[in-house]
């Protein structure tokens, strides 16, 4: 495919930066309320799958709408492919949006919906049809090209909405919770399909979601948002494994969090007792460990001479198919949340009331901010 962004957008040849987005000091305050988006600085790299993750009302959609040009920031600068966007209206930006409601045009059929952007840019028919047909084949929606947009199933509409954005070969594709209206199975399929499409086309995707699982599956990098601010930006693995603060730790998954006071370079006093922590300790703070990083032993097979080993009793066991979630109450009354995979269900499963031992490996304990 050849690139053909709208003529107005090609003002200078920043080809190296094509698809890069740079936000600095972006602020948006809705009348009579607190800032929906509060001084956000963010760089999104060309060709990456970037996810804005956060609870509803955190400002992620507002941020996306400002990149698309539907809303103007009250302060700050937006650069798309190195170009200042302040005076560029939405219809002149080389970005395309996939809306949560899909917003397919009810008076047009699938083919015409997909070709709408090309038609508005004045691309005439042999060329337009060729490009529409190519994208429909790629998305496997050619079979219902002539069908009205109102006669499609949820998954089909999602594909058409994506095709309608991709056919324009935009520098950036913006996706506003595009999968949230679909059932779980279709959703999982489309996540993979979307990801495959993005890698194949090499376009920058900015994906907005409140679903941490979706964010983990799809993204190269994640920006976790809360109350109009970016809490943490980083590769998926970093954000999950090394969350910066309590909000990020809890939003991305279950976690055990305890306050600690250091008693040595690698030891700290916590409500559990004394813990050895591999990472260098930086004053007192919070210690976090993911439940799947906690090892559970039968009380008869407790390894000798291990650090961070605590005896306790299973209080709760929630079977979840591939794994089981346990709440284990330690001798001093503290609870520990732990996951165990059900790969040897018979030997390695515990019922409430059974005595066990848990081990928190020093490497897996992270220091986080409140």
């Amino acid at each position: 495919m050849t690139f053909d962004p709208p003529a107005q957008a090609v003002l200078s040849a920043h080809s190296a930066k094509r698809g890069a987005i740079s936000l600095s000091g972006i602020t948006r305050i809705f009348a009579g309320s607190i800032a929906a988006v509060d001084h956000i600085d963010l760089d999104i790299h060309p060709g990456e799958f970037f996810t804005l993750l956060g609870p509803s009302g955190c400002g992620k959609t507002t941020l996306l709408r400002m990149i698309a040009g539907f809303e103007a920031p009250d302060d700050g600068r937006i650069l798309i492919s190195g170009r200042e966007m302040q005076d560029v209206p939405a219809h002149k930006r080389a970005v395309n949006t996939v809306f949560q409601s899909y917003a397919l045009f009810p008076h047009l059929n699938v083919e015409q919906n997909i070709g709408f952007g090309l038609r508005m840019r004045g691309i005439k028919n042999p060329e337009r049809k060729k490009r529409v047909d190519a994208i429909m084949e790629m998305m496997q929606i050619g079979d219902f090209a002539k069908r009205s947009a109102t006669q499609l199933s949820g998954g089909q509409r999602q594909r058409v909405a994506l095709a309608r954005a991709l056919v324009n070969e935009p520098e950036v594709v913006l996706l506003d919770e595009p999968l949230s209206a679909l059932d779980a199975k279709l959703r999982a399929e489309l996540q993979i399909e979307l990801l495959r499409m993005q890698k194949r086309l090499g376009m920058t995707f900015i994906f907005v979601t409140h679903d941490q699982h979706e964010a983990l599956v799809m993204s190269d990098r994640i920006g976790v948002m809360s109350k109009g601010k970016i809490q943490q930006v980083g590769p998926v693995l970093d954000v999950y494994e090394k969350p910066k603060n309590v909000f990020v730790a809890e939003f991305l998954g279950l976690s055990n969090i305890w306050p600690f006071t250091p008693t040595g370079p690698h030891t700290a006093q916590t409500p559990l007792g004394e813990l050895t922590i591999a990472a260098p300790l930086n004053g007192s703070g919070l210690a976090m460990i993911r439940p799947e990083k906690i090892w559970i032993y039968n009380d008869t097979a407790v390894p000798k001479d291990q650090t961070n080993l605590f005896m306790g009793v299973v209080r709760e066991a929630i079977y979840m198919g591939a794994s089981t979630q346990y709440r284990i109450e330690l001798a001093n009354g503290q609870s520990v949340l732990a996951f165990d995979t059900n790969n040897q269900a018979a030997e390695r499963s515990w019922r409430p009331g059974e005595p066990v031992a848990v081990e928190l490996k020093p490497d897996n304990i992270m220091q986080i901010e409140p």
């Binding site: 209206p89 917003a103 109102t150 509409r157 309608r164």
Partner: protein
């Protein structure tokens, strides 16, 4: 479930109502076929006279000019008004302010046409005395008819647009359409049934209108309803008037049917669009 007895009673009542509604119309049609002078049996005599009556022809012509002139103009203005009220309404408005657009549109519709007609008369007189423009005639009638048709068109367009997914507008901007292109490639096609329906409604309202026409017409702008009124006042109800009435009934019924089918089509399309929305 309605008991069978009640159902029968209700359908029993409905027939006299239908008779009451349509008998007068049928009578007009019946008398229009009255016998020619010095002969017996039904005839098309009254229609023949009507056909060769220059005054009727001129009045019909004026009525049609008035109807089409005002309906076309008010369709354009009403569409723009409906679009503007929907598109640029304040999303944060609450209570009374949130209903402002609908109130602005509804008020002229519920205003008694007598009041409307007199106020138009006063207004045109005022403007005429002050500037010399707008002397009573077909021109002032067209303006008056536009003013009472615009709300109907605006209302149908407004209703259609406010039922749409608001993200459609943004989607069109996102896909490189500026405001003008978005209007012609998205808004107009989507509200087209409402526009056509509004136009036809405007024509029927205009042809039908007597009160407002009466107050705003001038000496040289006698339209059909005014002609009929004058003819009855002079010499009572003649077979020619009945023939004229029959022709008007036929035309209005035809237009109403066209309007009905278009509205039904629009509703069906609207239902499909609604089904297309996410839950």
């Amino acid at each position: 479930m309605i008991p069978r007895g009640v159902r029968y009673a209700l359908s029993g009542i409905s027939w006299p109502v239908y008779v009451l509604l349509y008998t007068p119309l049928a009578l007009v049609a019946y008398y229009s076929f009255s016998p020619a002078p010095n002969s017996t049996g039904h005839s098309l005599h009254a229609y023949n006279i009507l056909l060769h009556d220059g005054a009727v022809g001129a009045a019909l012509q004026r009525s049609l000019i008035l109807a089409f002139g005002s309906a076309i103009t008010s369709t354009v203005l009403g569409t723009l008004l409906g679009y503007g009220l929907c598109r640029f309404r304040n999303a944060n408005a609450k209570g009374f302010l949130a209903h402002m657009p609908s109130l602005i549109i509804y008020t002229p519709i519920i205003m008694p046409s007598l009041v409307f007609g007199i106020s138009e008369l006063i207004f045109f007189n005022f403007v005429h005395n002050a500037t010399g423009f707008l002397s009573a005639g077909l021109g002032t009638m067209v303006i008056a008819h536009i003013t009472f048709q615009v709300p109907y068109v605006a209302l149908t367009v407004f209703a259609r647009l406010s039922g749409l997914d608001p993200y459609l507008f943004e989607a069109s901007y996102d896909l490189y359409a500026n405001g003008v292109k978005s209007f012609f490639y998205l808004i107009v096609p989507v509200v087209q049934p409402a526009i056509i329906g509004g136009f036809l409604l405007g024509i029927t309202l205009s042809i039908d209108d007597f009160t407002i026409s009466f107050f705003t017409s001038g000496p040289g702008s006698v339209t059909l309803p005014i002609y009929i009124y004058g003819a009855i006042a002079r010499k009572g109800i003649s077979p020619e008037i009945n023939a004229l009435g029959t022709l008007m009934i036929g035309t209005i019924i035809a237009l109403a049917l066209v309007h009905f089918f278009i509205t039904r089509h629009r509703e069906r399309a609207g239902q499909l669009a609604a089904r297309g929305k996410i839950a």
